[in-house]
Structure formats: structure tokens, C-alpha cells
């Protein structure tokens, strides 16, 4: 017994090392345990406050670039407005539209913290549950899709960026009817991989990838990226496409969060289905 105690004492540093490594690895490979840790809330609270001040300062230096992006976006929006179209047919009726209703609502948010050099990257935004943000909402910048809301605190939210191993975006190639899946290649913050596009579809370098209308997170037609390299995969049935990510992750400052107004209703309905199945 004494020998055993002596032995344990002699390797106590090693045991402490093992203990600490175990905790660290547990947090590394079980990210949900990490995010639910109470200390995480505490630290993000501090971090967010620091970051808020920091981003307030830094955003001044980016004002010129931001203005340019906003102007470009304004231009796009103005082009879509009714006033910018000439009515060519005078027999157009105005109909009280009961067919269309608003499905997506947009909120603006500022980026206060983000990473791009890990396998799983996250973005912190300055809007939270008090501003009506919920888990699973889509996030995009004026240039393209950025991520999906993952965790929400009172005034902040944590977004899984598209530079994350678990994030996939349903995408269509502009002009073609096919839908593929976009994911990150895990290496470079400017390139991603598009899968599931069958080889009979004609795609070209430079084609635009847009969000598809199968997603309840993003409205259709937000840019995801631009095709950069095309090859076929081992089965020769599908393309292996590399694309340039549309959003500029080297300079991310203000983004839009998308709320799907119908999603709640849809989920409720789907739940009914599950209940029926249980009975």
C-alpha cells in the first residue's frame, strides 16, 4: 500500500497532466459540452463587451469600403423596384394580392468577433434573443451567404460560419435547375466545394451559385460563390466543383439575419405528423 502511494506520488505530475488533457480534449471534441459550460457564457459576456468597443473603433476605418458595398446593394435593390420598370402593357390590373405574403424578414447586425483559421469557425453578432434572434436563422452579408445562427444569448448570438465542417448550404447553379450541396474545403477561407451536381448538366467556370428554394433558412437567390474549378469525381457521375466563396471573410463587419416567418408554422405542422406517428 505504501509502495503504491509512493508510486502515485512520484507520477502525480503526470496524472495531473493526463487529467487536464482529458478535460481539454473532451471540450475539443464535444463542442456542445463546451458551449453549454457556464464559464463559456461568462467569458463570452466579457469578450463581447471588449469586442463591441473594438469593433466600434475599427468600423470607422472600414467606413469607405462599407459605404461602397451599401451603395452597390442599394443600386441592386433600386433596380428591382417597381419604379425602375417601364409599364409596357397599359392593361395591367392592380390586384389586392392575397397569393403572396412575406416569408422572410431581415434584420441587420454587426460582427463583433470571428475566426477563419480553424476547422470549425464561428462568428459573434451583436443581436440576441431580446432582438428576436433564434437558433437556425440564416446570416448573409451584402456579398453572399455567411452562416447559420447556432447559439443565442440575451444580446448576442454565435453563428456557425460557412467555414465550419458541419455547415452545408443547398445551392443551385444560376440558370440551371439543378441543386447541389455547398460545403467548405476546410483549408482556405476563400474556397469551398460543391457536390451532387450530375455530369449531364452544363456548368462553366465563373457561373454563379445561388441559394436554392429548398431551404427554409435562406430565401432563394442569395449568392454563395462563383465556380472556379471543375472536375469529375471517382464515379464520373457527379462533378467535383471548387468555388470561390462570395462573402469576403477577410473583412466582415455588417451582416443581415433572416427570419423565416412561416418556418414556425411549418415546424408545428411537422410536429403534428410526428405525434400522429407516435399514436
Amino acid at each position: 500500500m505504501r509502495n503504491l502511494l509512493d508510486f502515485l506520488k512520484s507520477i502525480r505530475i503526470f496524472l495531473l497532466f493526463l487529467f487536464l488533457e482529458t478535460i481539454a480534449l473532451l471540450f475539443t471534441f464535444n463542442s456542445s459540452a463546451f458551449h453549454s459550460a457556464t464559464s463559456f457564457q461568462f467569458f463570452t459576456g466579457i469578450n463581447n463587451r471588449i469586442m463591441k468597443v473594438r469593433s466600434d473603433v475599427v468600423s470607422y476605418f472600414n467606413l469607405r469600403e462599407e459605404n461602397r458595398k451599401l451603395m452597390e446593394e442599394n443600386m441592386c435593390l433600386r433596380q428591382r423596384q417597381k419604379e425602375s420598370y417601364i409599364i409596357s402593357d397599359q392593361r395591367v390590373f392592380t390586384v389586392n394580392d392575397t397569393l403572396y405574403r412575406q416569408e422572410f424578414e431581415y434584420l441587420t447586425a454587426s460582427v463583433i468577433n470571428y475566426t477563419i483559421n480553424y476547422k470549425d469557425n464561428y462568428i459573434t453578432l451583436d443581436k440576441g434573443s431580446q432582438q428576436g434572434i433564434e437558433e437556425g436563422m440564416g446570416v448573409y452579408s451584402p456579398l453572399g451567404v455567411v452562416g447559420i445562427v447556432d447559439h443565442v444569448s440575451q444580446n448576442y448570438c454565435l453563428v456557425k460560419s460557412i467555414l465550419h465542417s458541419e455547415v452545408t448550404i443547398s445551392t443551385t447553379v444560376k440558370g440551371e435547375g439543378v441543386t447541389g450541396t455547398c460545403m467548405w474545403d476546410g483549408i482556405n477561407y476563400t474556397t469551398g466545394i460543391l457536390k451532387d451536381i450530375p455530369v449531364h448538366v452544363k456548368i462553366e467556370k465563373g457561373d454563379t451559385l445561388l441559394t436554392s428554394n429548398y431551404s427554409s433558412i435562406f430565401p432563394a437567390g442569395i449568392p454563395v460563390g462563383y465556380i472556379a474549378e471543375i472536375s469529375t469525381d471517382a464515379t464520373r457521375a457527379f462533378y467535383n466543383v471548387k468555388y470561390r466563396i462570395a462573402a469576403d471573410f477577410s473583412n466582415l463587419s455588417s451582416v443581415y439575419i433572416i427570419r423565416n416567418l412561416i418556418k414556425g408554422e411549418l415546424e408545428e405542422l411537422e410536429k403534428m405528423k410526428e405525434k400522429r406517428n407516435e399514436q
Binding site: I13, L16, I23, L25, F27, N117, N188
Partner: protein, 171 residues
């Protein structure tokens, strides 16, 4: 440990993390390189600190960084590993002066050649652990190697710069 060493080390911890959190987590050299200068604190923990305490301090330092960049326990794991092999490094790298109490593993106490070797090896191992643990796929072997090398270089550069500034002040 005497008080003369505790306070500078606490101050160093705070300073290093303020710089890390406010500046270095956002400096993306060449797109994605940001130096992990909090390692400077771990490197300079005085010799006479009990090994257990070094482990715990390094774990705390790594975990603090993890909390700020939300990476789980990646930095904590790498930092604890560095703290564990630190005694080995200190013993193997030969210095001209004997280790006495009150000494720190710094340039002022042990000279440039010693510190550059010590910091270089520690920083490189630290980067390797972080990036291989993060990717965890051997198909990305060389890209990960390149990435950890670049990060190690950036971190090394800033740690040497800090030591340089610290020494100017003393003279």
C-alpha cells in the same frame, strides 16, 4: 516563490491576454495567420514554480484563449502539453549559467542563443499540436504542416520581439 516574481507574472498574464484578445486574435497576416502570443506567458514562468502549478497555469492560459476564440479545448490541450514538456526542454538546452532560484527562462537571465532555441522549439510544438488536433485528418498532412509552420513563425517573431522590448527597458 517570492513575491517579487508573482506580481510581474500576473501582470504579464494580463498584458499578454489583453494584447491577444484585443489585437492578435484579429491580425490575419496573409489571410489567416494570427500569432498565439499568450505562449509568452507560459514560456517565462520562473524555474522554481512547482511543476503542478505550471501545468495548471498553462491550462488556464490555454483555456482563456479557447473561451475567447470558441475553440473548445484546443489551446488548453496544446498549452498543457507545452507545460508538461517544458522541464525537459529546460534541462536539455544547455546554458552557460547554472539555474539558480529567482531566475526566469528569459533572455535577461540566460542569453539570446538559449532563449531563441527554447522559444523556437516550444512554439513549433505548440502550433503542431493545435493544428493537427484541429484538423485531425491525415489527408491534410502537408497543408496542416505548412499552416502550423507559418503560425509558429509568426508567434516566434512576436515573442522574440517582446523579449527584445523587455530587455531594452531593463538596460
Amino acid at each position: 516563490m517570492n513575491n517579487k516574481l508573482i506580481i510581474p507574472n500576473i501582470l504579464r498574464f494580463l498584458l499578454v491576454f489583453i494584447l491577444q484578445v484585443v489585437i492578435f486574435n484579429y491580425t490575419n497576416f496573409f489571410g489567416y495567420i494570427n500569432p498565439y502570443i499568450y505562449l509568452y506567458f507560459i514560456l517565462l514562468i520562473p524555474f522554481e514554480t512547482p511543476a503542478g502549478l505550471v501545468l495548471i497555469l498553462s491550462f488556464i492560459a490555454g483555456f482563456t484563449q479557447d473561451m475567447f476564440v470558441s475553440t473548445g479545448g484546443l489551446h488548453a490541450a496544446a498549452s498543457t502539453a507545452i507545460a508538461f514538456i517544458r522541464p525537459l526542454l529546460l534541462r536539455t538546452i544547455v546554458s552557460k549559467r547554472d539555474y539558480e532560484s529567482g531566475l526566469q527562462p528569459s533572455v535577461a537571465d540566460l542569453g539570446w542563443a538559449w532563449f531563441v532555441t527554447y522559444a523556437g522549439i516550444a512554439v513549433f510544438i505548440h502550433s503542431l499540436i493545435i493544428f493537427y488536433l484541429d484538423i485531425f485528418k491525415f489527408s491534410y498532412f502537408f497543408i496542416t504542416l505548412k499552416r502550423s509552420l507559418l503560425h509558429a513563425l509568426a508567434t516566434f517573431f512576436f515573442i522574440i520581439l517582446f523579449e527584445f522590448v523587455a530587455n531594452i527597458r531593463k538596460k
